[in-house]
């Protein structure tokens, strides 16, 4: 027994050496397919884990105050602060006091401005350095009595203004404003801690004053005794932020820490967990990234597997001959299977090593990090996973077919690569049509309204994905591939006359013979064309999806930034459209067009909303308004309606609902008059609904004609200048504009905005994914066309050599070769493009959740598609030319063997 085993070992070693030496080409080609699959999976996986880590980091970085622990009635706030400060993971803790004021007022001359209810916040003198992002200085001093910008605008106050603060049941007190501030995180700062999840989030107060803690106590200690319901105490916490890199894991970890603290405090305090709130969104984004990975990575890996299978099966004829030979020399079926496994291991090892090296190279080139910026551990996990899949592909495509052949009893059974063998059985069953119908059905079900791909409910620890949605594209992919096979196969058999007529100009009287020859090789040719179609389809649909996504991400950024560069005037600064500043902005180098828009606050009933005054003649182009920003018409239509009457007004859908408005209804806004600083009534007419507008908040806002607002309020102050640079050197223009406007305005640009806009998924991640994906798609397209043709043609080198030996001239030989290459490449490219269009449409629809707002049309990356096409054509030209060369070289040894 043991001697038999030893003999087998010797056999396998000899076999591996012989294989590597004599079948170098096929072995390398098969390994290349595996390498591509391994590299794609390893790169995408490492990239995915690094993106998730980025998402977690970004989400946490965006949080100004990690936890707001609110003291519960009856608890001792000093004790609470001490307890919280002593908790694990807490890096810093500060006590913050809140008091509700009945309102602020100021007197200028003999006019008096009054606000509604507001909040007075007491902070320690170290608070702003501990939580630098919570309060942002706009004007005046950084410390002392700091007035919220919106309140300052309402009161017409600036540093030095004396304001009076109302206290329920007590005398008002008077303070002098020392600085104007912005509160970027007002939403979380004024959150209702402990509110049940799912409760309507409270709008932050419009009127806020921040005072030093001692001042606060002097002002409100009496109030907290008389009206404890009007004051509250919080401990603001900065954590050490040591969290897992995956957003979902980080979310559960931080939530656990918060629960733990609450339990320790024994009811003395409730945690407002801002980190968890931020991670909750990132968690959904991470899942989307994972879905994208699946949507884009799976077909790539599947294609690489198909490519490997196709290459391996081209070499199968040869393997069968060798197996037959070995069998006649007494090799057992077991040994033959062993040799198949040896082959699989050989290509698996070469493929895995090449694939991992390729992945590390891609990582270094595209991300300057061999591990794509992820940790070594997670990169290693993905590497191992990719290698396992690589070996699985090797076993399925190399070892299994060898095993099947080894158990065949006769050589004749396995001999026929060409011939009359019937069509694959699935064709008779119409499997392709079944798959396509199922795809359409799933797509219809999953793209109906109200369907959500990712369900991430805030406060709920688990998020769910509807994996059903994957079935649509997957079925389309499989069904489409089979349909293409059927179509090419049909063309080569039933459509032989058409093929013959098509190649007649090249091969003349040989056309019927060539067409008949191709008809008998329909299985190989249809398989090749299908593979080319699938890779072209993969490259195309990925590119279309990616550029549509890029386009939308840009629109998203424009929506939040307003334009390439936006110059926002500081509160209190009075900048008229004809001012020197405006002229200087327009004259700055690189500035193409400047669109001035007004920004005011207007009362709609008791509601204070942002009001934008626009120039209807120019805003559609200058603001790059998208149709998705409006309801009931295109952007052009609605802005034209707005411009048709001076007192027209576009409002948000919520406002239409709240005030039961119908088109043409009069609506009165209360606007501040520029001369008297008093709020006065200004009549408008409601004409349409707007959903989004550059620089506007996502909830309620109003759009009116700038000229009318200026006339009715005696004030033409510009709120923001939208600067169009025609896309060129956005950062440079922004830098120059900062010099021009100095402190009178802030300058923001699209590029940096894009990096921080809401979801991190839109901001960075896909651009990296794009690079990797598109590069792999190109490699796959080249490999699929080149290798499939080359391997297919190489197997037929003998045929071409016979034809040459019979006297076929260059043109006639070319006819044989180019007709086959043409059907494979052209057939593949054309059907692939059609399939890609369907697939991209479906992908964009299924992944609608990734897009906000939804795209109006697919964006087609023509340059990339032209590259794909030329790569296919060049690859097939090289394969064809190489074959022709070898046939014309009349290698007679091919005619000596069979």
């Amino acid at each position: 027994m043991s001697s038999g085993r030893t003999r087998s070992h010797g056999l396998y070693r000899t076999w591996v050496i012989a294989t590597l030496r004599r079948r170098t080409g096929p072995v390398l080609a098969t390994s290349l397919g595996i390498a591509l699959a391994v590299a794609l999976l390893a790169s995408l996986g490492a990239f995915l884990s690094s993106s998730k880590a980025t998402m977690t980091r970004r989400a946490i970085d965006s949080v100004a105050v990690d936890w707001q622990v609110e003291a519960q009635p009856g608890s001792d706030s000093a004790q609470l602060a001490a307890d919280v400060g002593a908790t694990a993971h807490v890096a810093a803790a500060e006590v913050v006091e809140f008091a509700t004021t009945s309102g602020f007022d100021t007197t200028t001359g003999n006019t008096k401005q009054t606000t509604g209810m507001g909040q007075v916040v007491g902070i320690s003198d170290t608070y702003r350095s501990t939580f630098p992002a919570e309060v942002r200085s706009l004007l005046g001093s950084d410390a002392g009595v700091l007035l919220f910008q919106q309140t300052a605008a309402n009161l017409g106050a600036s540093p030095g203004t004396v304001i009076s603060i109302g206290r329920s049941g007590l005398q008002p007190v008077v303070l002098t404003v020392t600085g104007i501030v912005d509160l970027p995180e007002a939403d979380s700062l004024f959150q209702a801690v402990g509110a049940p999840t799912g409760a309507q989030p409270q709008a932050p107060p419009d009127n806020v004053l921040i005072v030093p803690s001692p001042t606060w106590h002097k002002l409100f200690d009496a109030l907290s005794v008389a009206r404890p319901d009007l004051t509250r105490t919080q401990v603001h916490v900065r954590l050490d932020r040591r969290l897992p890199s995956d957003p979902a894991a980080a979310y559960s970890s931080i939530t656990g820490q918060a629960r733990n603290l609450e339990a320790q405090l024994g009811g003395a305090g409730l945690v407002g967990d801002n980190v968890a709130a931020a991670l909750s969104g990132a968690r959904g984004d991470a899942l989307y990234a994972q879905i994208l990975f699946l949507f884009l990575g799976t077909p790539g890996a599947a294609l690489a597997a198909l490519l490997t299978a196709s290459v391996a099966s081209s070499a199968a004829d040869r393997r069968r001959r060798e197996q037959a030979l070995l069998r006649t020399r007494g090799a057992t079926a077991r040994q033959l299977v062993g040799l198949g496994v040896t082959d699989a291991i050989t290509v698996g090892v070469i493929g895995a090593i090449a694939g991992i090296s390729l992945a590390r190279l891609v990582g270094r080139l595209a991300f300057h990090s061999a591990t794509f910026g992820s940790t070594e551990t997670s990169a290693m996990t993905w590497t191992i996973g990719a290698i396992v899949i690589g070996f699985a592909i090797a076993v399925i495509t190399v070892a299994l077919p060898a095993r099947r052949d080894a158990h065949r009893t006769t050589v004749a059974e396995s001999r026929r690569a060409i011939g009359r063998r019937q069509n694959p059985r699935w064709m008779a069953y119409g499997l392709d049509f079944l798959l396509l119908s199922a795809s359409a059905l799933v797509f219809w079900l999953t793209s109906r309204n109200g369907y959500t791909l990712v369900l991430a409910v805030e406060g709920v620890p688990t998020i769910s994905v509807s994996y059903w949605a994957f079935a649509g594209p997957a079925l389309l992919w499989a069904g489409g591939g089979l349909l293409i096979y059927r179509a090419v196969s049909l063309l080569l058999t039933r459509g032989q006359a058409v093929v013959a007529a098509g190649i007649k100009p090249v091969v003349g009287d040989l056309s019927d013979t060539v067409a008949a020859s191709m008809g008998r090789q329909r299985r190989v040719l249809a398989r090749g064309a299908t593979l080319v179609a699938l890779t072209v389809g993969f490259a195309t649909s990925t590119a279309v999806f990616n550029s549509t996504y890029e386009h939308q991400a840009r629109i998203d950024a424009i929506l939040s930034n307003g334009a390439d560069v936006t110059v926002t005037t500081s509160p209190g600064a009075i900048v008229s459209p004809s001012s020197a500043t405006a002229t200087a902005i327009a004259a700055t180098a690189g500035v193409h067009h400047v669109e001035a828009i007004q920004h005011r606050f207007a009362y709609v009933g008791a509601d204070l909303q942002d009001l934008y005054g626009v120039n209807a003649a120019t805003i559609v182009a200058a603001g790059r308004l998208q149709n998705a920003y409006f309801a009931g018409g295109t952007a052009k239509d609605l802005i034209a309606t707005l411009g048709a009457r001076p007192d027209s007004l576009l409002v948000s859908a919520e406002t239409v609902h709240d005030f039961q408005l119908h088109p043409g209804d009069p609506i009165t806004l209360r606007l501040q008059d520029g001369r008297t600083k008093q709020y006065t009534n200004v009549p408008f007419h409601y004409v349409g609904v707007t959903k989004e507008f550059p620089t506007a908040p996502h909830d309620s806002f109003l759009i009116a004609n700038a000229g009318y607002i200026a006339k009715m309020t005696g004030n033409d102050t510009v709120g923001a200048f939208l600067v169009d640079t025609r896309g060129a050197d956005v950062a440079g223009v922004a830098r120059r504009l900062r010099d021009v406007v100095g402190t009178s305005a802030t300058v923001t640009d699209l590029v940096s905005t894009r990096r921080i806009v809401g979801s991190s998924l839109t901001a960075v991640d896909l651009s990296g994914l794009t690079k990797v994906e598109l590069a792999f798609a190109l490699a796959l397209a080249a490999a699929a066309t080149g290798l499939t043709l080359w391997m297919g043609l190489a197997e037929r080198r003998r045929t071409f050599t016979i034809a040459a030996a019979l006297g076929a001239n260059r043109r006639q030989l070319g006819g044989f070769v180019w007709a086959e290459a043409g059907v494979t490449t052209l057939g593949g490219v054309v059907t692939g493009a059609v399939g890609a269009w369907a697939l991209a449409t479906m992908l964009v629809r299924v992944l609608t959740g990734v897009f906000d707002p939804a795209p109006e049309a697919l964006t087609v990356p023509w340059a990339y598609l032209a590259t794909v096409l030329s790569i296919c054509v060049v690859a097939s030209a090289i394969a064809g030319a190489a074959t022709l060369r070898s046939a014309r070289g009349l290698r007679l040894e091919l005619l000596r063997t069979q």
């Binding site: 060409i418 013979t513 008949a516 020859s517 030996a805 007679l892």
Partner: protein, 225 residues
């Protein structure tokens, strides 16, 4: 110029490989083959018959010495048409059926399809292959495939027919049928015919029997009829 030789070899040698592993397959062969010649080439296995045949067919070029075709022209003029070869190994195109394979050399000569088909069918009939007209090479036995290869030579009107063991896999009856057919084809166009064979029965059908040994052309004797 009817007295010109069809093919003429002068001190032609063919060496495979280089240095220590070099094999001299054909060694200093000189000969003249005229129109109407009927030659059987014999010799032990590995003696260089196939190599010489390929040289005479212009498929291969001598390493030293020369080969030319005075009655035909340049090496470039040999194919398609003037020289027809039956190869030792199966040489049918697997994706073409029998009649397409036989008609192929004619189509390569730009003979129109109909004429080519008729000629191909003729040759196949002569070799008793009418039933196999639409078969694919993979569906043929080794002997049937050899007969088809012979038919392919017959369909044209070549000046030089070179057949490399055309009867190797055939029974006696069919072997003689093939030889007859080749001779008939050669007669029709007054071609020179050279046939490699191990079989003395076959050799006996030829005017001359040449024998080779270790690459050299040794004896040239008229056949004993």
């Amino acid at each position: 110029m009817t007295d010109q030789s069809i093919v003429r070899a002068r001190d032609a040698s063919r060496t495979f490989g280089r240095g220590a592993s070099a094999v001299v397959a054909v060694h200093g062969v000189s000969c003249d083959i005229d129109a109407g010649a009927r030659i059987a080439l014999t010799g032990p296995s590995g003696s260089g018959k196939t190599t010489l045949l390929h040289l005479l067919a212009g498929l291969d070029v001598p390493t030293t010495g020369s080969i030319d075709w005075p009655a035909i022209g340049d090496r470039a003029d040999l194919r398609p048409g003037a020289v027809a070869v039956v190869f030792q190994a199966p040489s049918l195109i697997p994706s073409l059926n029998v009649i397409e394979n036989v008609a192929l050399p004619l189509l390569l000569q730009s003979i129109d399809r109909r004429t080519a088909r008729v000629a191909a069918l003729d040759a196949l009939t002569r070799l008793g292959l009418t039933d196999l007209v639409h078969s694919l090479p993979e569906e043929l036995s080794g002997g049937q495939a050899q007969r088809v290869a012979a038919a392919r030579v017959m369909a044209g009107r070549p000046r030089l027919i070179l057949a490399d063991e055309p009867t190797g896999q055939l029974d006696r009856v069919n072997g003689l049928l093939v030889i007859d057919a080749l001779v008939h084809a050669a007669d029709r166009s007054n071609a020179a015919l050279v046939v490699n064979t191990h079989d003395p029965d076959v050799a006996a059908h030829f005017d001359q029997v040449w024998s080779m040994s270790s690459g050299r052309l040794l004896q040239r004797e008229p056949a004993r009829r």
